[in-house]
Every structure is written in C-alpha cells, then in structure tokens.
C-alpha cells in the first residue's frame, strides 16, 4: 500500500478514491437514478388523474391542492421516519415520500397547463366531434405539455436532491456515501458523491428539456409548419364522422 496517499491525507479531491471505490460509486449512482425515476414516474401517474379531478370538480380542487401542499411542507427527515413504521425498512419508504413531495409541483403545473389551453382550440375540437377523452389526449394534453414538462423538470431536480435523505434507512443512492462520509470525516467521499448528485440533477434536467423539445416541435418558431395548421383545415374531410 502507498505510504503517502491522498486517501490517508484526507484530501477533498482524490483520484485514488475514484479508482478504489469505482464500483461503490456506480452502485450508488444507479440506486439514485432508480429511486428518482421510480418516484417521478409514479408521481406523474398519480398527479395526472388528480389534476383532472381537481379541474373537473371545484369541490375537489381545494382539498387536492391543499393536501399536496401540506405533504410538501413536511420535513423530509420526519416524512421518511414516519413512513418507516408503515412500510418497513424498504426502498418503498423513500419512493413513497418522494412521490408525495412531487405531487404538489406536478398537479399545479398540469392544472396550469390545462387551464392555458385556448378555449377556441377546445371549441374547434368539440365542433369536430371530439369526445372528452380524445379532446384531452388529442388537443389539451399536447397544448399543456410545455407547462407539464416545466413541472416535471422541477419535480425531477428536487427529487434528485431529496433522494439523498433516504440514506437514513440505507436507500439514499449517493446520499448513503455522503452520510457515511460525513460520519467518518471522509472528505473525498463527501465531495465526490455531492458533485455526482449535482451532475445527476443537471443531466436529468437537460434530458427532460430535450424530451420536451422533441414532443412539442410546434413551440419552436423557426418553421411554422405546426400540426395545428392541418387541424384547422381538416373539417372538410370529417363529414363522414
């Protein structure tokens, strides 16, 4: 073993740390990505119907927005500790907590997106004989996508950072390394894991931005060949319906 290494000197930046703990870092990063993806995906699947419900019924809107905001206000350490007696020491504690946190952001953004759909677009679609479901998925959702994606990006970035708190029960991805590094005053570990966590958030944000651009080509002004131009012309062809 090396007599004088950056590990022994406890340097903040240490190549030897990277080379000796490569596998650990990869595992932690994969766990972090897994927890984040699962949480955001489930959050989206839960938030979407909630938002629709809140939009359809005024009476539901207040409680949904209020409750999800209350969830958001619970301190994360308390949230995970409170969920442990219910769900046991499993990864579902962390995922559940993160889903609850993402709800307020996602529900509010989906609602805002749907509210911003121009009434004329709805009218036109109804006039073309669109039912509720097709109106939602064919017209409203695509038009609401920019707001929805904005919410998704915020939710994802905040989930990446909150995942680290899961370290208190061993499911915190890179947070596990940060916590044990803090406990044993291991500078290289704390710094490396923190930097990776930030990188993860940035990459996730960029990926979602790219997805958004691919899904909403019409929002780019360069070429106004938007699909809706077609939609305006088509009623002529709809007579049969």
């Amino acid at each position: 073993m090396a007599e004088r290494s950056c590990l022994v000197d406890n340097d903040w930046i240490c190549g030897e740390y990277l080379s000796s703990r490569g596998q650990e870092l990869v595992d932690a990063t994969l766990q972090h990505i897994g927890i984040t993806l699962a949480s955001v995906a489930i959050g989206l699947l839960v938030a979407f119907p909630l938002a629709l419900l809140a939009r359809a019924r005024r009476s539901v809107r207040g409680p949904v927005l209020g409750l999800t905001t209350v969830f958001y206000a619970i301190p994360s350490l308390a949230m995970f500790s409170l969920l442990v007696p219910v769900l046991g020491l499993s990864v579902s504690v962390v995922v559940t907590g993160l889903v609850l946190y993402s709800l307020t952001i996602l529900v509010r953004n989906i609602l805002a997106g749907l509210a911003a759909v121009p009434e004329e677009a709805r009218e036109a679609a109804r006039g073309m004989g669109y039912g509720l479901v097709r109106l939602l998925f064919g017209v409203e959702l695509p038009l609401a996508l920019p707001a929805l994606m904005a919410g998704l990006r915020i939710a994802t970035v905040s989930t990446v950072s909150l995942t680290t708190i899961g370290a208190i029960i061993g499911y915190g991805g890179l947070g596990n390394l940060v916590l044990s590094g803090l406990r044993s005053y291991f500078k290289a570990q704390v710094l490396t894991a923190s930097v990776l966590c930030v990188l993860l958030a940035v990459v996730a944000d960029l990926v979602l931005l790219l997805v958004q651009r691919l899904l909403t080509p019409w929002t780019r002004t360069r070429r106004k060949r938007a699909p809706r131009a077609g939609a305006a012309k088509s009623p002529a062809g709809q007579a049969v319906a």
Binding site: N10, L30, G34, A41, F137
Partner: protein, 326 residues
C-alpha cells in the same frame, strides 16, 4: 377513407402522450430492477431459511462489526446481506419485527434506549459501570420484545472525554481527575442530552469536580464537535474510547479514572425468532471471544485514517485471527 387524416393527427398526439406513459412506466420498471440489485438485499425479497439480514448503523465501527458478523455467518453457511440504517430509533423496531436479524450493539447504550422506550423518558437508569449487571438489565428489557442478547466480550466502546494535546500538556492532564484539579473552566462539546445524563455533565461536576460552564450541543464525537475543540471554541469533547480520528484533530483522551462511564461492551443482539439458534450464537461467539477494545480502535483506524473499506478491514481481521473455517 376520410377518417385517416384525423386519426393520424390524434394518433400523433396520442403517441406523444403514450410515449410519456410508456417511458415513465418503463423507467419505473427498470428503476425497480436496479434497486433490487443495489439496495443491499432484504427489502421485498423474502429472506428464507438460512438467509440473514445484518443491521449496521452508519458509523465506522458499526459497519466493520456488521461486516465481521457477515463473514462469520457466511462461514457458518448462511447467506447474508447488510442493511445500513442511520439511527437506533429506526433499526431497533426493525430488529423486533424481524426485518433485521442481527445487529452489533453496545450493552449500556441499548439498555438505556430500551429503558426509555419501555418506562418513559425520565426512567431511572438501569445501566452502570458494572458490565454483568448492565447486561442482565438489558436482557430483562430485551427479551419481552423478542430480542436475544448474546454474551458480551471484552471489547468496550464507551463514552470518553478528550482535550487537545496542547491543552493536556499545558495543564499536565492525563486523567479526568487531573482536569478537575486544574480548576479550568470547561465548555463541553457533547450531545444536547448531556446535562441530564449522569455520566455526562452531572458526573463530571460531582465525581471529578470539573467546572463545566456550558454545553455546546454538537452531537457525540461528531466532526463539528472535534473541530470546535480543536479551534479552542470548546475545551472538552465527549466521544468514544475507540474513536480513531482523534489524532487527525490533535486530540487525546483523558482517562476515566473514577469509573464514571457505563459499561458499553460490544455484543450481538438478534431477533430471537429468526436468528435465535445455537448455530448463530456459536458463530458470533467466535468473535466475542477474541475481540478487544484495542482491536476495535485498530479496525476503526484502518477505515477512518487509512481509508480502507470496512469490508476489506473485516475480512483481514477474520483472516488474521483465524476465525474462518473455510
């Protein structure tokens, strides 16, 4: 086919919506996959006969001990996984429920933890400097909860007090009695429960006559606490006897010459139903027989100062002491 164009349009929109749904569902699925692999076992996979979950707290000594337990139990033919949980408040209930089967513990600390849980916050202390009595009290509290306390060994990691080397030299301190005689005014970096614990502020004042002017609530043996003492903000640090990072901060321990501290002998605590067998007891007893306080300090030093991995340090120890049969 006049419907086709409309279909195509809606189709595109549906495709977009569908893509999001499929993407999220798919990602959720692979997320689940990678979690199974990297989550450290346990979890949803039902541990069958012969598979054990060892719990570990997030500090070095607990991690190394958990790795050593894992090595011994693996050698005895069990398949093992380690689950790291930050605090006793979280892993002790899991041990009762059998989500965790084996945990390295400290006699006095666990006894007091269970005592408080059982008898309320202000329950009179059951742990003492007498190891035998402490373990007996612990067993009385643990057994009704379905926990089996295995025999303690010689290794002890109990609370201890440290000062900076310069401070010790200047006032010629070797023991806590010396500190009391020095009549220095002392600010103590410790946990916020220190003023109520007999072994902490009250004990320092009564037993040693140390003039404690205040407590800096920075948690026991935390990095912040050590830095505060190193920088002279506080004079005395509450830490543990096997703390291997003291040297890095230029700190030295003062001897507890009047035996103020409780007996925190290291011992395995298991879930009686799932890991109460003689075979497991025998496997873990191998370590209990040989492990000393010096060994613990040395093991901690390897991880905290030389930055070896807990698993490697544990494997090395098992090999050096010839504790493995295979």
């Amino acid at each position: 086919m006049s419907r086709t164009p409309r279909r195509a349009r809606t189709g595109r929109a549906l495709l977009a919506a569908g893509a999001v749904a499929v993407l999220t569902a798919g990602l959720a699925a692979c997320g689940g996959d990678s979690l199974e692999k990297s989550g450290g076992g346990g979890g949803s996979a039902k541990p069958g006969e012969g598979s054990l979950v060892i719990g570990s707290a997030s500090f070095t000594e607990s991690k190394v001990l958990a790795e050593i337990y894992a090595g011994l139990l693996k050698d005895a033919g069990y398949s093992v996984s380690i689950k790291t949980v930050d605090a006793r408040e979280l892993y002790e209930p899991a041990l009762e429920k059998g989500e965790i089967d084996v945990v390295p513990e400290y006699a006095a600390t666990l006894a007091e933890f269970l005592n408080k849980k059982q008898n309320g916050k202000d329950a009179p202390p059951v742990a003492s400097a007498d190891a035998g009595a402490t373990v007996k009290a612990l067993r009385k509290l643990a057994e009704p909860r379905g926990l089996k306390v295995l025999d303690p060994g010689r290794a002890v990691d109990q609370n201890a007090f440290a000062v900076t080397k310069e401070f010790a030299e200047k006032h010629q301190l070797k023991t806590l009695s010396d500190l009391g005689k020095s009549k220095e005014r002392i600010k103590l970096a410790a946990g916020d429960e220190c003023p109520e614990r007999p072994f902490c502020q009250p004990g320092l004042e009564k037993t040693y006559g140390i003039d404690v002017t205040g407590i800096d609530p920075l948690e026991v043996g935390s990095t912040q606490a050590k830095q505060a003492v190193k920088q002279g903000k506080d004079q005395l640090l509450l830490t543990t006897t096997t703390d291997a990072t003291l040297e890095q901060f230029g700190l030295v321990l003062l001897e507890d010459d009047k035996k103020l501290q409780n007996s925190d002998n290291v011992l395995p605590v298991v879930n009686a139903k799932k890991a109460g067998s003689q075979k497991i007891t025998d496997a873990l007893a191998k370590l209990t027989r040989v492990l000393t306080t010096e060994d613990l300090t040395e093991l901690n030093k390897k991880v905290d100062a030389r930055r070896l991995k807990p698993a490697d340090v544990a494997a090395g120890y098992l090999k050096d002491k010839g504790l493995l049969t295979k």
